[in-house]
């Protein structure tokens, strides 16, 4: 009989070893799947993990893709620690793109170094506003934030479509549903010539550092953890769970909104009906893969981004269907999540007690 025994302390060794183990297992079972489908496994793995980042351009693209994921996931993790389940970061991202992009359109043609900061601020306010709705309904009416934030995601998406097919439609665009291209002052500068790496990535890194500081060094970070782990204890200690709901949702919303405005002012350059391929949802997975730890999240965001880009590369160079990428990503996530057990539990075989670990 195999049994799991809870470790008194989380195993440091396994905490770091499990991601490696999971990636190893994914590569092994992925290779089996590729071979079973008639693709050369080595070539496929090479296309997934090596080719996309084999030069500077590839690396810069990796940061472009990972930026919104890391930014949103850092915020989400804060909430998840405090048992606040914001599933609607996608909607907050869209709202941030709408408000931040709205600033750009309102000042269309007006040059000035103040415009971009104003847009970023506008995006954060928009995202925070959209997250404030589930926060308010949760605190005031006890409405489940998972569902409110999820439903609001659909609403935000439709609002964006309304705006770009209606009032914000490009007057010179032959009636197609998209806004004008933002002018220069409203466009995020890139960091290097011939690359799309923009200042969003340093901003994301900054968010990672700040979040690490908040979680480990500040009172509110501590309160979030306590409320998340043992709500009754928090009550005795006088911490308010309403405060945690507000703080975490507003923070996540602001970060998601920031990610949104960065996407539209950076790599996209205008408002279109579809500005995010589900970053807000993927970020949930990223947050857990990173074990809710800011640095882990950064690494997880890079890994997720790589698997997406690798999926494209595998399609181009070996015609591996996109569906295979979905299955492959699913396997990677399953292994990473499953191997987590080793960090928190020790495996016992039979009735013998093992003393190591």
């Amino acid at each position: 009989m195999i049994a799991l025994e809870r470790r008194l302390e989380v195993s440091r060794f396994w905490l770091y070893a499990t991601p490696v183990l999971a990636v190893g297992l994914t590569i092994l079972s992925g290779a089996v799947m590729f071979a079973a489908l008639g693709f050369d496994p080595l070539e496929a793995l090479h296309a997934y993990f090596i080719l996309p980042i084999s030069d500077l351009y590839g690396l810069s693209e990796l940061t472009v893709k990972a930026t919104p994921l890391a930014m949103i996931a850092v915020g989400l993790a804060l909430g998840f620690r405090g048992n606040v389940w914001n599933i609607g970061a996608e909607g907050q991202l869209i709202l941030g793109a709408i408000t931040g992009g709205g600033v750009a359109l309102a000042f269309y043609g007006v040059e000035g170094p103040w415009l971009l900061p104003l847009m970023l601020l506008g995006g954060m306010v928009g995202g925070a506003f959209w997250a404030a709705i589930p926060a308010f309904l949760k605190v005031r009416f006890n409405a489940n934030e998972i569902l409110v934030s999820l439903m609001l995601t659909y609403v935000a998406g439709l609002l964006l479509v309304y705006l770009v097919t209606g009032p914000w439609k490009d007057p010179m665009g032959f009636g197609f549903p998209q806004s004008r291209l933002f002018h220069d002052s409203a466009t995020l500068p890139t960091l290097f010539e011939n690359s799309r790496m923009h200042i969003g990535f340093p901003i994301a890194l900054f968010a990672v550092v700040v979040s690490w500081f908040v979680v480990s060094r500040t009172l509110i970070g501590f309160q979030i953890k306590v409320v998340g782990l043992t709500p009754p204890a928090a009550g005795y200690a006088g911490f308010s769970s309403s405060k945690v709901v507000w703080v975490t949702l507003l923070t996540t919303g602001a970060l998601a909104g920031l990610a949104g405005v960065i996407e539209v002012s950076g790599p996209i350059g205008q408002l279109t009906p579809s500005i995010s391929p589900g970053y807000g949802f993927t970020a949930i997975i990223v947050a857990f893969l990173g074990r809710l730890h800011p640095v882990g999240i950064l690494l997880a965001a890079l890994l997720m981004a790589l698997s997406y880009i690798g999926g494209e590369t595998a399609q181009i160079v070996m015609r591996l269907p996109l569906a295979v990428t979905g299955v492959f990503q699913g396997m990677l996530l399953f292994f990473l999540l499953a191997s987590d057990v080793l960090a928190h539990y020790r495996i016992r075989f039979g009735s013998r007690r093992s003393e190591e670990g």
């Binding site: 489940n144 097919t165 857990f288 569906a323 979905g326 299955v327 990503q329 699913g330 399953f334 539990y345």
Partner: protein
């Protein structure tokens, strides 16, 4: 009156896949487990049911195969969250991702293949009754099955001893464990049942609603089903009501749009089902005591005997 029957039939069709999936998820959540992978399991059920339907021409077998596929995916989820104690939210999302990819892979050869819809019941005399006949006696088997299973779920949860045990596991797994109930095994069965129901919901889509296979054809219904469970404050009767309400709302906004009664952009009309869900959610949640009465206390939390 004559024109009422087809409208009601449309609502029933729109509600049935939601009803299957939400009833299944209700049982899962009552046992204390949150499986966000409904969308993935529905897709798995849809594609396998369709493949079996095309290959055998047997609708019953196809639906059963869909349920089995939903169960298989649910089993994967169970291994992860019950066996390996992985986080339920993240695992559920991963299951959705996996289900989308796997169903697309399995269905590659079946895109653009037609399949005759499931046969509809026909009882001479009864089905011919105007309006009520086709509604009560002219549906396909899966519609009746969804109603029967809903009744069975309600009976099981509140009238049977096994249901009482399942709810106590969801309420306080440590206590249930201490009394000697096999918490993990009970939750496993609940998760498998949820998978089978999601698979049936998917099978209804690919066999009856729009008899075809297309990638991601569930189009978010798995998420709606999850919303319905909370919407219904974890009560089977309200899940049934909610599924029909949501189906009705979906069609109502299309009718409103085409009748041109109110002149507002279609995007705003399309928002109504989601906004309505939020409003209802707020109304029912205000009474915190009632929520607490029905919501499984341990939902989403990892259970391990060591505590």
């Amino acid at each position: 009156m004559e024109s009422l029957a087809p409208i009601v039939l449309s609502v029933i069709a729109a509600a049935t896949p939601l009803l299957f999936a939400a009833m299944g998820e209700l049982v899962v959540e009552k046992s204390g487990v949150l499986n966000l992978g409904v969308e993935g399991m529905m897709l798995g059920g849809a594609v396998v049911a369709f493949i079996v339907g095309v290959e055998t021409g047997n609708g019953m077998l196809a639906a059963a195969a869909g349920a089995a596929m939903g169960m298989a995916l649910a089993f994967l989820f169970a291994i992860m969250v019950l066996g390996l104690l992985a986080n339920q939210v993240a695992t559920g999302l991963a299951l959705t991702l996996f289900g989308i990819g796997l169903s697309a892979l399995l269905g590659r050869g079946y895109v653009g293949t037609p399949l005759p819809a499931l046969p509809k019941l026909y009882v001479p005399g009864l089905t011919d009754i105007p309006v009520l006949g086709p509604i009560f006696f002219g549906q396909d088997g899966l519609v009746y099955l969804s109603i029967v299973l809903s009744g069975a779920v309600a009976w099981f949860l509140y009238r049977s001893r096994a249901g009482l045990i399942l709810r106590s596991v969801g309420e306080n797994p440590s206590a249930a464990h201490a009394i000697g109930y096999p918490v993990i095994r009970i939750r496993l069965l609940a998760v498998l049942f949820g998978g089978a129901m999601a698979g049936l919901g998917g099978a209804f889509l690919s066999l009856s609603y729009t008899p075809m296979w297309a990638e991601a054809m569930t189009a978010g219904r798995g998420w709606i089903a999850l919303a319905l469970v909370v919407f219904a404050t974890w009560q089977p009767g309200k899940v049934l009501l909610g599924a029909y309400l949501f189906g009705g709302l979906t069609l109502a906004q299309l009718h409103l749009q085409s009748m041109g009664i109110i002149h507002i952009p279609s995007q705003f009309l399309n928002m109504t089902p989601y906004l309505a869900t939020i409003v209802v959610l707020v109304v029912i949640s205000r009474d915190a005591a009632r929520i607490r009465l029905n919501a499984p206390a341990s939902i989403g939390k990892v259970f391990h005997p060591d505590g």
